[in-house]
Symmetry: none
Subunit: 240 residues, 4 copies
């Protein structure tokens, strides 16, 4: 990683807010398209496999610009990581949950997570790359902490509500529940190729996806509910 770490934040001399000129907008666009391309390329080929040239070409820019805006390939990778986390948190923040209905809300969370992972395979792929490199880059990111999962907080609120309504067991932590949900979604998405090969079926088929989500829903609910839910699950809520 470059020692100057001169990642350029694109203009914005942080002086008085003024309308960005045409050049600044173009620069912003260049930077963003490089970042977008980096996410795609790194996700498909990993940190080593994704060359700066591939990224630059995908962004219809030049290698040199990566160094201009991000300093180095590794710093670009860090920026890509930060960006996918940012996007995930943004999506999570749009989740509209009703704390008064903890079972439905929990189902919504499970759906959200599984759905997000499936629709954003780069998120999963980039995290895998980062873990291959033992978390080396995320440790260097100053913003890493900012993005530290609000999901746990959300689940905590749900759990509390469920417990107070006598629906949920009091001895399940939000952290564990979060990991369980993430695990079911992540593993299915991350390992879909090897799993498909070894199970002899296509895990990306819509029915397979739907089936897995309903199974995950049930596993999660059974883990937290005081009483096991009937097959459909809806009844359990009604029973309250």
């Amino acid at each position: 990683m470059s020692n100057s770490t001169a990642a350029r934040a694109v203009a914005s001399r942080s002086g008085p807010r003024r309308k960005p000129g045409v050049r600044e907008r173009a620069a912003q666009a260049t930077r963003e398209s490089l970042l977008r391309a980096a996410i795609k390329v790194f996700a498909r080929h990993g940190l080593h496999g994704g060359s700066v040239e591939k990224i630059a070409k995908a962004a219809r820019s030049y290698d040199r610009m990566i160094y201009y805006y991000f300093g180095s390939k590794e710093e670009l990778f860090v920026a890509a990581l930060e960006e996918i986390y940012r996007r995930f948190n943004e999506a999570e923040a749009r989740l509209d949950l009703d704390p008064a209905r903890p079972v439905e809300s929990l189902r919504a969370v499970v759906h959200f997570v599984l759905d997000y992972y499936r629709r954003n395979p780069e998120f999963v792929a980039l995290l895998n790359s980062e873990n291959l490199h033992r978390g080396r880059h995320i440790g260097k990111s100053l913003r890493a902490r900012e993005y530290s999962s609000p999901a746990v907080g959300i689940l905590d609120a749900l759990l509390r509500s469920g417990v107070s309504q006598g629906l949920f067991r009091p001895d399940v932590s939000a952290r564990d529940l979060y990991l369980l949900i993430a695990a079911t979604g992540y593993f299915y998405q991350s390992n879909r190729f090897t799993l498909s090969a070894f199970l002899g079926e296509d895990l990306e088929a819509p029915e397979a996806i739907e089936h897995w989500e309903s199974f995950a829903q049930e596993a999660v609910l059974r883990t937290v509910l005081v009483a096991a839910p009937p097959p459909d699950g809806a009844a359990a809520v009604a029973a309250v």
Copy 2:
């Protein structure tokens, strides 16, 4: 991948069984140490990051030998994949379960899977690499099918036994259960670096590992048990 240069299986598979000469044993040793080194290096650096030179050096051999024994870097990768699957299956085969005691057996399976993933991080890392490359290599492996998970069969027997004893629900498939168990173990191991960073705790600490296993045990059991188990879970077994 060159398809002409067939991976050499070390000396004579043909011909009558005879004691291997010193030459053959040495060759066997070279091949094996290359394979072992490849697993380590690929696990640590991925398919692209792990260069043939690194592997050859780690095996105290020469680049050339990789081509001699395996044909190409990619074929070596395939061999590495096959080898880790073989090892996993071998370990799984050593699992000694009592079908008459399905709850305990299921706990044993969960323990085995989580423990194996943790003790063999190369297994997880290599699978991640293979999935990054969209299962390209495992599809080419002739032996892949052979290694196709006996675990599902094992779980199937357990489930049947549990159902017949009135302990387990009849509507849980072995395949789903297998994925659930694998997911809890795999995700925790695979993502331990990013998770540690974002949760602000060390997932590799012994207490953390133990805690996660007992949580996973409970989640799995609650998913299959007709009646929810008491906190400890042991009582549920006793109740039978």
Copy 3:
């Protein structure tokens, strides 16, 4: 080197002498700090090793300004050469010698040269760079001749005086004497690193420097004096 982009001499050389405006003074300052930075950077890294970016950064300015004021990197290098020569001549001009006392004056010249080289290592380093490039740039400099050594003239006067006083041999040319003096000072400074390594001593230690100067003084004096000076040398002067 682009010959169309003429090096800018900062604002108006033409036109009637008038007080420079604030704009011009700022420009002058930018130009000068670039030049100063260039001398430092070229001296430390050579013509190839010293990048325009390094120079611009060292001057807290921008790459672009180098092209604005100097036309190209090579022209900046020429300007740097001219500047160090200018400085050297300026310092030389401040030498206040008494032609009536040729021995002491000669000692003063030796001291001046050795001292100047030591205190201005960029002078020596830049000349080395220029000689590495076979004098390519100095040949292109129009001002080069202007700076052509007044030192020879100075020595010539001294020698004449010494000869007429019967102290100096009549058959020593100022040019040769100049080269001898410069050689002793230049070589010691220029090669201090390799010499220190091979002699196993630190040539930059104050005692080493002092010792070398007194040796150089003696060698120079013995070369020109009719009679060899006594060890101290002071006596020889007194003897006159």
Copy 4:
């Protein structure tokens, strides 16, 4: 600089002496031609200016071979430095001096040094490059000490002999004398381009060279002789 520092010494497993095979000889030739080319290219363009490609091409080989044999560009530079020192020492060792005739021997040494520098401009140029880089590489060379100047020892013997014969002053050290001789030869050669420009004459003209040598001879002799030599110098010897 590579951390493995795997500079290959070309085969020679230091086992029993056997005739080198045709391949080993070819390898030796490749290595040597790369080294020779490196000396030429580094001398002409410096460490930064001399690219590995230029060197490889000059040696009719490939960039890759430089890394194969020397590990890195910098290690090749170190090897080049060692080689020119080795050559210089070798030449010096061929000097056949008669200690009984110190004046003539001293003249022979002066001639040798000036002549060697002139005929081997790469020696001077490479040392300049190394000094530009503050002796960074020679410090890393293990062999550096081996090549540490035997010249001083040679001069010491000469001085002792001269002193015992009453010809030389007893208070001149071999080290100082060596520096004086080297300085006259080195400076003239190293700075011939800028000096030619500023003196307005060609320092490489045969007469100029000859004139400088005889001046250097005289300066050196006058520095060590008890009595100043007559213009020709030969008489001084005859006087003994």
